[in-house]
């Protein structure tokens, strides 16, 4: 029957329960026939951000050959309810590496650039039993799932039974449930996925590169700056293992975003540190970032391969392939170099030193701003930055140089970081609106900037090519085509930037920023309200 979707019940069983006691107990009322007993290596898959978990989806890789997905929590680990992606290899990680299917489409949305990688590995035993009457009529289906460590299969970490009723056999279903209860089985309090992860001792920690701060407006500016930097160093360090193992390109991207935010905090809040310290900190964090520049450039180009190919007429497409092959090869070398660097003693020592500097509040001589409440510094910084953008934007005309637009883009980025750092100090709703306007502008400016960076990269590449071989002539032609395509796109984007800047600097947005980022009104009793 379709509509009357049968209610299944899942029970956690005590680890100490033996298979014999399980069979004997069910055997009190039923003839128990085992129809499946499958032991295999399994890996629970998710992205670093736990995107599948967040959407209550579970993915499991079996013996590196097949991936099973469950979109309904009730069905997890039930082989009959799995959506399977077959014929995959141990290396299959990205949605675009999966065969075309509706499952792939779902993964595409959830993962984007993220890899699906093992977050937990163990042995999985799936057993199916038919509980029957004397006539061999099945009255209840029962599934037993056992998870154990590979080195110790006989001692389970988790035992879970699922009772699947057969239409028309309600009484028998109840009987089976009572028998499981008599074995010590209980319905887990948490949802199926959470109870499974809980039993395995996995705590999903969804990762976000945003600082997610909740600052007290009254704390000193230096304490606040230290907290921000400390949090971002922690995030930077969380991404290291993914870069070393080369799980996906987002790890390096986030590594760099974290560093960028740290550098922004140092540079934009420089008043809270002694000037000579600012110079040294800028230099130290800057060195870490620049080490990874080349790998990131390569990542960006390789990720955009399909898009570049799409910009060229068919006759010129193949011309680009040798260049991308070069990129892939360079990347393989560069990834190894970066992995060595991140694993090196020198790097680890540098990081430990930097961590220690900020962990318990940066200690150095007081400065004019260091002991002022953070709210005051925040208001001053945000207002100045917005005014700067607004002023520059109001001067933009169709004749403005590209450099001036880039300058505004950099200022927008600085403002964005200020909102990340200090957003929690102001009215949540208004900050959200201001943030949304800023984001919109940044997206437009970002596309414009990306196009010019890409053009520059390609032009540099063009300069380095030797002209003799036929292969290179083809590449030169393709690059020419590509650069002119990008140029046309950039011209169009420029117009969009000008329009977006006009919106961002209009009276309404000026008002919004003026009203949102303000010092709290202090009433007579000294309590503040917003």
């Amino acid at each position: 029957m379709k509509l009357s979707k049968i209610r299944q019940t899942r029970y956690l069983l005590p680890d100490s329960m033996t298979k014999k006691s399980f069979l004997d107990t069910l055997g009190q009322h039923f003839i128990v026939k085992q129809i499946e007993n499958n032991l295999e290596k399994f890996a629970l898959l998710d992205s670093f951000e736990w995107a599948l978990y967040e959407h209550r989806i579970m993915a499991v890789r079996h013996e590196n050959q097949r991936i099973s997905l469950w979109f309904e929590e009730e069905d997890i680990l039930d082989p009959d309810m799995a959506h399977n992606i077959e014929h995959i290899s141990a290396k299959t990680r990205f949605w675009w590496e999966f065969p075309e299917s509706s499952e792939r489409d779902i993964l595409k949305k959830l993962l984007d650039l993220r890899a699906l990688y093992p977050v937990y590995e163990a042995m999985l035993r799936t057993e199916q039993f038919n509980l029957m009457d004397d006539d061999g009529k099945i009255l209840v289906f029962c599934q037993l799932i056992t998870i154990s460590y590979p080195e110790n299969i006989r001692t389970p970490i988790l035992r879970m039974a699922k009772i699947i009723p057969v239409t028309g056999y309600k009484t028998e279903n109840k009987q089976a449930i009572e028998l499981l209860k008599s074995l010590g089985g209980f319905i887990p309090r948490l949802s199926p996925i959470d109870s499974l992860l809980g039993a395995l001792g996995i705590t999903p920690k969804p990762f976000s590169i945003k600082p997610g701060l909740k600052l007290d407006p009254k704390i000193s500016s230096r304490t606040a700056a230290s907290t921000i930097i400390s949090i971002m160093i922690h995030k930077q360090r969380q991404t290291e293992h993914g870069v070393i193992k080369d799980i996906d390109s987002e790890f390096l991207h986030h590594y760099r975003v974290a560093l960028r935010m740290i550098r922004a905090a140092v540079a934009q809040l420089k008043e809270v540190f002694p000037p000579q310290d600012v110079i040294s900190l800028k230099q130290r964090f800057g060195a870490l970032a620049s080490e990874t520049n080349y790998l990131r450039d390569l990542d960006v180009f390789i990720l955009d391969k399909e898009r570049y190919m799409g910009l060229l007429p068919p006759s010129l497409k193949d011309g680009l392939l040798p260049m991308f092959n070069d990129f892939e090869q360079s990347r393989a070398v560069e990834v190894k170099r970066i992995a060595r660097w991140l694993s090196s003693r020198a790097y680890k020592q540098e990081m430990t030193e930097l961590e220690t500097l900020f962990e318990n509040g940066y200690s150095a001589l007081e400065t004019h701003w260091s002991e002022q409440p953070i709210i005051e510094l925040a208001v001053s910084k945000i207002q100045k930055r917005y005014k700067k953008i607004q002023k520059a934007a109001s001067k933009i005309t169709h004749n403005t140089a590209d450099e001036d637009i880039h300058e505004i883009r950099i200022n927008c980025k600085k403002l964005r970081y200020l909102l990340y750092f200090f957003g929690s100090l102001f009215n949540k709703k208004q900050v959200k609106v201001a943030g949304r306007h800023l984001k919109k502008l940044q997206n437009t400016l970002g596309i414009f900037n990306d196009l010019s960076v890409q053009t520059e990269f390609l032009e540099n590449h063009l300069d380095q090519i030797e002209h003799q071989s036929r292969k290179n002539i083809l590449l030169i032609a393709s690059l020419g085509g590509l650069i002119s395509s990008l140029h046309t796109m950039q011209m169009q984007e420029r117009e969009k930037c000008i329009a977006a800047l006009a919106v961002f600097s209009n009276g309404r947005n000026q008002g919004l920023f003026k009203q949102t980022f303000v010092l709290p009104v202090t009433n007579k009793k000294g309590k503040s309200s917003q």
């Binding site: 029957m1 379709k2 009959d80 038919n130 099945i138 028309g168 056999y169």
Partner: protein, 246 residues
Amino acid sequence: MKVVASYSIKGGVGKTATSVNLAYAAARAGNETLLIDLDPQGASSFYFRIGPGKKQKKGFFFNQKNHLLKNIRGSNYKRLDILPANLSFRNFDIMLHSMSKSKKRLKEMLDLLKNEYDLIILDCPPNINLLSENVFNAADLILVPVIPTTLSERTYEQLIHFFENNGYKKKKIQPFFSMAQSNNKLHHQTIKEMEDRYPNFMKTIIDFSLEIERMGVHRDPVLAYANKKSAAQAYRKLFNEIVTSL
């Protein structure tokens, strides 16, 4: 939802074997399938190891959806449910006589299940009475197993006449040869003659087979216990042919 009846005026022609195996094939092919055992002898139910339904109040079948649903049993196979035979079914005819719209009661009842199933298969008792007429109205397709003998030929003709005389759509009737013996010359001859006269005969022929006879021992569809044998293949072929004509 489609309704297929396995029907013949004559008994012992392979109606139940057809119902049971087609129902199994349909469920295997991904269809939510319900097999209704209308024959009070309950052979279909027996093959699926399901005992007779509980004694029901008179008329439960045609009156209340809930009661009907309560009597449905899941089989040992996915997507395949059975409404087991009930001894009260023997009184169908009398019951129907006392009802209004007495020839369309079954159709109305089955319509209530249209959200639950993709396919309903009716295993009918051998007869031609008011219940049969309900089947003629309710079914989209009426499968008629015909043993290639003179006697069967006669009953088939009777059925055609009945349809003509009572205004039922002859198009619904899909006869096929059942229990045919490949080494029997008379069978061969009858098949040829009938196929000439009735071009609507299905291409698939279900030969007489010990494998099918053994269903009573296995209490399972042939397709389940002898999946690769020729009898199973024949039923699969028959199912595919039905799918294309539905």
